[in-house]
């Protein structure tokens, strides 16, 4: 059995001839909170849909909680999902949605349900069609958290939440991981949210995973490097292609060792001035802008 709660290998999927997933590969360690980040259209939602079995990939493989292949009802007992579009049944009230979901899960946490109904301010008698976007998001989270799942797959779970609700939900997720050892994979556009609660990061762009690892490792690995071109050099060396140029100064993000980099570039007429730890935003923009 693998130690990864989720293993994605070489997924490829095309829509109308356009590759939405292009050899997507990454792992999500058990017991981690993993942020799946990327620009719009990067393949985040499609990856989650393939993981959940809503869509299939043309090539590649997935394994969820050590089980290879597509989702089965037995595996779905151990996985909770919150989609990007957070509509619920138009023919049910909030309380009925809870009662309905409860019936499907042997490990349903009744105490947590009672606590969350109050904490997340769920209006039990209101029809789902009458719930606000934020309330729907909170109800979805309640339905996901109370299932007693080992893995939470959340697509933009905090979309539509006000700052107070956002804080509550983030605390809830962290508490679930701390108390029950669940694994959380959530997609988001908010890098601040990743920095706040995640300990693992998967950054995707154009259908591929471009950065993967623990947040601590990524912070140590990536640096914002500032270089100075020699007076006699006007063109940018191939190794620094895509770096931001301001006069004779070049700035970019690199995972190379700064000392080795300085030694390598000096022969190309480039002097490394300094290398500062990169923020997630720096890393994100560097990979997306490339």
């Amino acid at each position: 059995m693998t130690d990864a709660a989720i293993r994605v290998r070489e997924l490829r999927k095309t829509y109308d001839g356009r590759a939405v997933l292009d050899r997507m590969s990454f792992d999500v360690p058990r017991g981690s909170i993993c942020g799946l980040v990327g620009p719009n259209g990067a393949g985040k939602t499609t990856t989650l849909r393939v993981l959940m079995g809503f869509a299939s990939a043309e090539t590649g493989s997935t394994a969820v909680l050590g089980v290879d292949g597509p989702m089965t009802p037995a595996l779905l007992q151990r996985v909770a999902f919150v989609p990007e579009a957070k509509d619920l049944y138009p023919f049910a009230r909030a309380g009925e949605m809870i009662r309905l979901t409860r019936g499907f899960y042997a490990a349903w946490d009744h105490a947590l349900e009672a606590a969350l109904v109050g904490e997340l301010e769920i209006p039990l008698r209101t029809w789902c069609t009458k719930l606000s976007k934020g309330t729907l998001a909170r109800l979805w989270l309640l339905l996901a958290l109370c299932r007693g799942a080992e893995l939470l797959i959340l697509d933009e779970p905090t979309d539509g939440l006000d700052p107070v609700a956002l804080d509550r939900v983030q605390r809830l997720l962290v508490r679930q991981v701390a108390d029950r050892g669940v694994t959380v994979l959530f997609s988001t556009h908010q890098l601040g949210e990743v920095e706040q609660i995640a300990d693992h990061l998967v950054m995707v762009h154009r259908g591929r995973c471009v950065v993967e690892g623990s947040l601590d490792d990524i912070r140590q690995r990536y640096r914002v490097v500032r270089c100075l071109l020699d007076d006699e050099r006007n063109d940018v060396p191939a190794a620094l292609e895509g770096w931001r140029r301001d006069g004779r100064f070049l700035t970019g993000v690199s995972s190379d060792d700064p000392t080795e980099m300085a030694e390598r570039l000096v022969s190309s007429g480039v002097q490394v001035l300094d290398a500062q730890p990169a923020s997630l935003k720096d890393v994100f923009l560097d990979h997306v802008a490339r």
């Binding site: 999902f81 962290v174 050892g181």
Partner: protein
């Protein structure tokens, strides 16, 4: 505890896995929670059921008047043989005293065959929404798909739930029509033989409804919202205009071969819906 101070030092069990993580939890049963599945279908169907019950009540109230009116008309005009022959070939073998109430009952069954699928057909992958009567792509579909439930079970149980609704309605209509005959008066008398002719018709009506339910369910799996609505509307118009006589003949006196074909067709169409639902991406 703030989100920043998340407990990376969470309790760790054997093999380094956190307590409560996979491998340390008891294996859960894989039985299908049927009660929960049918509760889901009930939530979806309860509003249409109310509408259909109101329709059935109206049909029950109208029955004595319809029977009385048709009987009087036929008695005055003497057109009994010609008029009731349209109900179906079986009518020619029946004593005239049984014909009228039975014929009216058959016509109401035809109406039910058109109405019930319109309100309760589906596969669980589509359901009524504010955007239209049939909405195969309502976003809440992802909630259904995330439940520990195979698509085959979902489609099959949803069909079964719709069939239960149809069965309830047909039985209710039969009972109400039998009771209705009691108040009709002289032209029709309540006879055991009369009931005996209505029961097989009700069963044939149920078979016709099952076929229509399965067909409309398949439409919602194949087609997107707009086209599903369009096909449903056109199908209903066609049923009312062109197929009314065919449905009437089936309910009035389908042969064993026709009944077997309808049942086989229903099973095949439900199987096709299941296969398509399993293969389809959402």
């Amino acid at each position: 505890m703030s989100p920043d101070s998340r407990a990376h030092s969470r309790p760790v069990g054997a093999h380094g896995l956190p307590v409560g993580a996979h491998g340390l939890q008891p294996v859960r049963g894989e039985t299908t929670p049927l009660a929960a599945i049918f509760y889901r279908h009930w939530l979806e169907l309860r509003r249409p059921v109310v509408v259909l019950l109101v329709a059935a009540a109206l049909m029950s109230l109208l029955f004595p008047w319809a029977v009385h009116g048709v009987s009087s008309y036929l008695a005055e005009t003497g057109n009994l043989a010609r008029e009731v022959r349209n109900v179906g070939p079986a009518v020619e073998r029946m004593p005239r005293s049984l014909v009228v109430a039975w014929a009216v009952h058959v016509q109401f069954l035809v109406l039910v065959t058109v109405l019930v699928p319109l309100f309760v057909a589906g596969t669980g992958l589509s359901h009524p929404s504010p955007s239209g009567p049939l909405s195969p792509r309502h976003p809440s579909l992802l909630f259904t798909l995330s439940l520990p439930l195979s698509r085959a079970t979902l489609v099959a149980t949803r069909f079964a739930a719709a069939l239960v609704v149809a069965m309830t309605l047909v039985i209710l209509l039969l009972l109400m029509h039998v009771l209705g005959m009691l108040v009709v008066g002289p032209p029709v008398t309540l006879l055991a033989a009369q009931v005996a002719t209505m029961v097989p018709s009700a069963l044939r009506g149920l078979i016709a409804i099952a076929l229509a339910l399965a067909s409309l369910g398949l439409v919602t799996v194949i087609l997107r919202e707009f086209w599903a609505g369009m096909v449903t509307a056109l199908g209903t118009l066609a049923a009312l205009h062109w197929w009314w006589t065919s449905i009437t003949h089936f309910i009035a006196g389908a042969t064993v071969g026709q009944i077997a074909a309808a049942l086989a067709g229903t099973v095949a169409i439900v199987a096709a819906s299941i296969a398509l639902a399993r293969a389809k991406e959402y």
